[in-house]
Symmetry: C2
Subunit: 308 residues, 2 copies
Amino acid sequence: MSLKLTILGCHSATPRTFAHPTSQFLEINNRYFLIDCGEGTQTQLRKYKIKFSRIKHIFISHLHGDHFYGLIGLISTLSLLNRQTELHIFGPKGIKEIINLQLKLTKSWIEYPLYFHELTSKKSELIFEDKKVEVFTIPLKHRIYTNGFLFKEKPKERSLNIIHIKKYPEIEICDYQNLKNGKDFVKENGEIIINNILTSDPPPTLQYAFCSDTAYFEDIIPLIENCDLLYHESTFLEDKKDLAKITKHTTAKQAARIADKANVKKLLLGHYSNRYKNENLFLEEAKPIFTNTELSFEGKEIKIPSKY
Amino acid sequence: MSLKLTILGCHSATPRTFAHPTSQFLEINNRYFLIDCGEGTQTQLRKYKIKFSRIKHIFISHLHGDHFYGLIGLISTLSLLNRQTELHIFGPKGIKEIINLQLKLTKSWIEYPLYFHELTSKKSELIFEDKKVEVFTIPLKHRIYTNGFLFKEKPKERSLNIIHIKKYPEIEICDYQNLKNGKDFVKENGEIIINNILTSDPPPTLQYAFCSDTAYFEDIIPLIENCDLLYHESTFLEDKKDLAKITKHTTAKQAARIADKANVKKLLLGHYSNRYKNENLFLEEAKPIFTNTELSFEGKEIKIPSKY
């Protein structure tokens, strides 16, 4: 399993016993990311048995309370649990000041290294990268500065075509890594054997796009095109299309239109307004436009197998 | 019913699904107070069907996260609910800066009047008073500046002794309020009828003392003496007496000793460390020293009838 997303909360605005604000836990290519952290996220993490120690990077989309009021509590709890490893917070400018002021006034000394990566750019940028994964921002259109996030597996190595390689006894095992990296083989006499005779294309990489909160915003389409999974907010149904426009949110139908235009593989709806008691209505509105739509709900797990 | 206390959370440190941090809702003499506001308090208020509109005064004992991390979320939710009436926050210096910074950075405009009453005194002081109730601080001994709170019904009026009053035809109905207020009656000829011939003592008033978090601290005894209900933290049992001393918390046995020395009517334990799985152990430790001890638990209601 190469991608697993766990929904910890998927409702908008005020938390209730059975309606938690936005938070998701993502496992992609053996890396773990917490996305948004509404009030009560730490309790949800415990409920769904997600080990706190796995969280090393937290991405906050924007500074509305239902997306980050649980962050200070989680940071404090990690300290109480005697965490030693680094924690990286990615979020809009201001988040460092909010957290640090509270830590100072509560006289909480965080023993583990806590790093803030404050975001200000209105253009998509690479904000995290390691050997296996890259994370890019997806600038969204909301009432305050907001980013979605695109989580991408790093391009994998080319697959060796051993039958063809064996035809060239001068290619030794120590050359294989160069071939995997796409390099041509150069014989001692200067003759070149081009790489794609010796290897085949790597399998495509998995991509998850998280887009909340935002108005209907077609500018994101080039950034999320062909992704395997798109979470797109759908705070309202079409009956509140005008309210969606005023508050810079999206209807389920509009979210489906984005999914369709971006040719994603699967759409996941969420960030439902508490005014709707029957969430199936979101699905009914989206499916005629984009068939492979699913509802998010608390505790839902979506697994997408590796393309190897 | 003149005093009703609802326990919204009574565990220390990190919140869990069935262990919420400190928060209590108090109704005394038809006044309503929220005491402490750990993460998730707004969800607990909904769960126990306490109307948000009743909350006009919130008292925060100290700036440790398990006592106030839910405050910003509650303040924001009241705004989303279009609250118009005043909200008063009483708490240690710094609380205003924490809340205001978050409101500023989240661009949340609070429409209702929000007043902060920051506390700095190390002596007990009257911090709230209206016609029916007074609230005093109870300075506690903890790792950071901390106050408990004493909620007192205002002294009631003296009861008219109509049989005796009727013996003096010169006393008219318009004089009754003066008699209720304790004044003597002066005849036209200057003769004085002393008040306690005409009235009897008012019934005693109800008092609730909230004391969390604190080390064993006998200085509080004169402040809470004879109160009807004492909530006293008992983070630990005697097996962790040394840890209680280091962290400036109390054991159940020590809490019972305070209750006994202060001659309170009833003791309520709480703020349990999550390390203890069986909370009855707290009761077993306290009862031999103070018989009328009860455990707090989430959703518990304690009702004390008026003494009229």
